[in-house]
Structure formats: structure tokens, C-alpha cells
């Protein structure tokens, strides 16, 4: 069930603020460009509402922080894991594909999950069709599904969603 839509005004203000902070960083805080940046940020935020309408999912700051911590630590594991396999003379990989049924709702949560999984250890998103996600695994012998479910829980927390395992249990 998608949550109640967020007011467009809140979405525009939020997106405009993020864009303006990005502008401020890109111009290194140059004061002569701030006014121009503010106007451009506001315009882009309004236009973005037509291209990507407000999804109704709002980002929870606490969930986002926890997710970033999880993401950073797993990124290190992912990089070291592939490097270890590559430097080992036997090249211990056994590539394969698995298809999973996702518990996350459609839209931003699924999109964030698919993109995150491409950077997580041993998985690469190939195809996202409805609630079916096909992954390429570096080593099919690993406990891939357990890792994916954990990532799914972390992504759910960003949007304040409690991820139930109903889809998993229904299979």
C-alpha cells in the first residue's frame, strides 16, 4: 500500500534545498553566485515535480544515517571481497543468477534497493520487473538471499517502512 502523498509544496522545498546545498558546494560557497543558484534551484525543483512527481515516500533522517553506515561498511566488504578473489591464483568465483520476490513497495524503495545491491558484496542487479528482481551473483555458493533480505530491511528503514517477509513466506 503506498502511503498518503506528501504535499507538493514540501517536496519542492525539500528538493530545492538539496539542490541549493549542492550548488553551494559546487561553487565552493562563492557568494556572488548564491542568488543565481537560489533561483536556479527553485526552478529546477518546480520542473522536477513534473518529471518525477512526489512519490509519497518520505526519507527518515535517522533511517538514512543508519543506512549510510550499513552501506559504507558493506562497501568495504564488497571491495575487499572482489579484490581477494581476484588476487587469489585459483580465482574462486562461481557466477550465477537468482531471482527474488521483493517485499518493498514499488517506486523509490525498490529503485534504491536495486542500485544499492549493485554495489553490495557479490550481487549485481540485472532486471527489475514488478516485484521480481534478477541478480547476478559473483559466487552462487554464498548465502546471497540472506544478504539481500538484510539490505532490503535497511532500505525499508530509510523510508520508515517495516519490511515484512510475507512474499518470502508465500513462495
Amino acid at each position: 500500500m503506498p502511503p498518503a502523498p506528501v504535499s507538493p509544496l514540501i517536496t519542492v522545498v525539500f528538493r530545492g534545498t538539496v539542490l541549493f546545498v549542492a550548488w553551494w558546494a559546487l561553487t565552493l560557497g562563492e557568494s556572488s553566485g548564491l542568488a543565481f543558484g537560489a533561483v536556479v534551484s527553485a526552478l529546477v525543483a518546480v520542473v522536477s515535480l513534473r518529471l518525477f512527481p512526489a512519490s509519497g515516500f518520505s526519507v527518515r533522517p535517522a533511517g538514512l544515517m543508519l543506512f549510510l553506515g550499513y552501506f559504507l561498511s558493506r562497501s568495504v566488504v564488497a571491495g575487499v571481497d572482489v579484490a581477494r578473489r581476484l588476487l587469489s591464483p585459483a580465482l574462486p568465483v562461481q557466477p550465477g543468477e537468482i531471482t527474488l520476490t521483493l517485499n518493498l513497495p514499488e517506486g523509490s524503495p525498490r529503485w534504491l534497493l536495486a542500485n544499492t545491491l549493485s554495489l553490495m558484496p557479490g550481487t549485481l542487479s540485472i532486471l527489475l520487473e514488478g516485484n521480481r528482481l534478477t541478480l547476478h551473483c559473483l559466487d552462487i555458493r554464498d548465502r546471497v538471499e540472506r544478504d539481500v533480505r538484510e539490505t532490503e530491511r535497511q532500505v525499508g528503514r530509510v523510508f520508515g517502512l517495516a519490511v515484512d517477509d510475507s512474499a518470502e513466506a508465500a513462495r
Binding site: L26, S75, A78, L86, P95, L124, L127
Partner: protein, 106 residues
């Protein structure tokens, strides 16, 4: 900047970052199919760039400069995740022809 401990830490992080980039590129040669190669390029390079960004952060001239450095990493991550997915999907839709034994040397 004159702190020797900081200098040593930054040097170690920079070297680590470059080593990971080198290993990621090694993946292009050692792995034999497109999808496995993408694993090497996305994950190892992500970590390599992360180390380099971490090493450069203390050198940032201002808060905005530091944020800009972090934005570079975030943009590279988003680009690598997206392009990895697009290439993987393209390979999935139209599988590549089998390799002609050239990668079987090692």
C-alpha cells in the same frame, strides 16, 4: 597540514585507493565474462575512490570544498551503479557470444 601523523595517514589512504583501482582493472583481464567484470569494476573502484576521497578530505580548503569532494564520490557511485545495471540488463537481453578460449590461459 604540517602534522606528520596526518600526512602519513593520507599517504597510506591514497596508496590504498590506487591499489584498489589497480586490482579493479586487473579484474577486466582475469575475469572472462562481462557480468563478472562489472562486479570487479563497480565494487573495487567504489572502494578505491572512497579511500582517495577520504585522504583528500583533510586538505579541503573549506566546508563547501569538503562537501564537493564527497559529492564527487556520491556521483561516481550513482553513475557506476546505474551503468552497471544498464550493461547487465543489455547482456541479459542479448547474451554475448561465447569467448574463443583466449581467457583460458590462467
Amino acid at each position: 597540514m604540517t602534522d606528520p601523523l596526518m600526512f602519513v595517514m593520507q599517504s597510506v589512504l591514497l596508496v590504498l585507493g590506487c591499489l584498489f583501482f589497480a586490482v579493479g582493472t586487473l579484474g577486466l583481464f582475469r575475469f572472462s565474462d562481462t557480468l563478472t567484470r562489472i562486479h570487479a569494476l563497480t565494487k573495487v573502484d567504489n572502494l578505491g575512490l572512497g579511500f582517495i576521497v577520504l585522504a583528500l578530505l583533510p586538505l579541503a580548503p573549506s566546508l563547501a570544498g569538503g562537501l564537493k569532494t564527497l559529492l564527487i564520490w556520491a556521483a561516481a557511485l550513482a553513475a557506476s551503479a546505474t551503468s552497471a545495471h544498464l550493461i547487465a540488463r543489455a547482456v541479459h537481453v542479448r547474451p554475448e557470444p561465447p569467448e574463443t578460449g583466449e581467457a583460458d590461459h590462467d
